[in-house]
Amino acid sequence: MRGEMAAFILLAAVTVIPAIVVVTSRNIVRAALSLVPTFLGVSGLYVLLQAEFVTAIQVLIYAGAITVLILFVIMLTAGGTGLPVRQVNEQVPLGILVAGALAGGLLFVLLRAPWPMVSGEMPRYNARAIGTALLTNYALVFEVTSLVLLVSLIGAIIIARREGS
């Protein structure tokens, strides 16, 4: 048990510290790259929560695909580090206040609420259980997902494409 706690603290550090870099770094590419350890840290948290399949998906989609997309867009627009330009707006004090207040409020509520905790283990074959759930109980969610993908692909292509070409 103590091992799990140590792993959690380590993963929390791996998640939160790069996350702070993501929102504060003046170098936009480094900010985007800091997303990678954050995503990997979150996937480690999923391991602790016995969600193997979601772990792999987190790495595959977030770290392997979305980060690449973000890096592409940074390289295709501003191009460089973004260091010569101001990266933050005038809301920094307000932002700190709001984010701090939100964190405080959330922690206050979350840690006091009496959650109906149930002890038990997750299914050993995670992917199998998810597949069964997706194809039976959540079949509608599953089908609608493909519609969402279709619509966002069409939308994104229309928006990103140069007109008339």
């Binding site: 590419v29 990678v36 998906i57 595959l60 695909a65 890096l71 992917a127």
Partner: protein, 325 residues
Amino acid sequence: MSWALEILKASLYAVIVFTFAAVFAAMLGVYLERKISGWIQARVGPKHVGPQGILQTVADTIKLLQKENIVPRNADFLVFSTAPLIVTVAALLGYVVIPWGKLGDWILIVRDLNIGVLYFAAVSSLIVIGILTGGWSSNNKYALLGGLRSASQLISYELPLGFAIISVAMMAGSLSTVDIVNAQRDVWFVFKQPLAFLIFLIAAAAETNRIPFDLPEAESELVAGYFAEYTGMRFALFQLGEYAEMLAMAAMTTVLFLGGWRGPWLPPILWFFIKTYAVVFFFMWVRWTYPRLRIDQLLNLSWKVLLPLGLLNILGTGLVVTLAR
């Protein structure tokens, strides 16, 4: 206490696998590449260091160790130094789920993850980040262009690769690599899924930047692509990552389609290596025989041929399996 023991054991495994990859994938790989290219082009290849030049790569490694690590003034130092590490470590992480063989009842695998092949696909997708940032951080036009091209190529071929893996998972009913090998007790999946095998082979060659898919580093137009600015050991790490990934892909081809360690007479480990190096030889043979593709041909092949074929293959397999149930 048991945790500490496991960590120690895992570190030991990691050191062994790392050394194995450095020796068998990179050193032997580079040597074989040079020998085979020489053989195909009717030359001799490396000959002077050691018998038949077998120590050539060792000499090269020692040479690279003495080289200065130059970081260009305009480069982004932190990103520049991290990029080769990402490529190498991501390539090595895939080795966790490869079953190398069987000794009695004991399967030689670091860890048989439930989601083995998905894990393999996930960690190899991290290589893109290393290559893209390596190209970007050099602040060199050719390197950046090479990095962008390489990233487009790698992401384009990741999809057909995934489809081929899924076709095999459908036949085996599991994502664990050991289960997949065990499912090929009677017939290798290459005979049940020839199309998926072809797709996987092409996509694997593209994922490891082999000619005819080596556009990112095309010497004649891009100097050396994304690692143009890298020198000495950092350059060697990129090479190590690339060859480690090639061996991992060849091993994965063996696991998914060629029955893994299965085979008559010879011990299983030997079978596994024979099959894996046969695939490696195939990659090299193709590399020194075919000319480079143009980038539009490259992307067309992935998006307009392999992707729809892979999808149709999955649907066809699903239909057949469902009907035959």
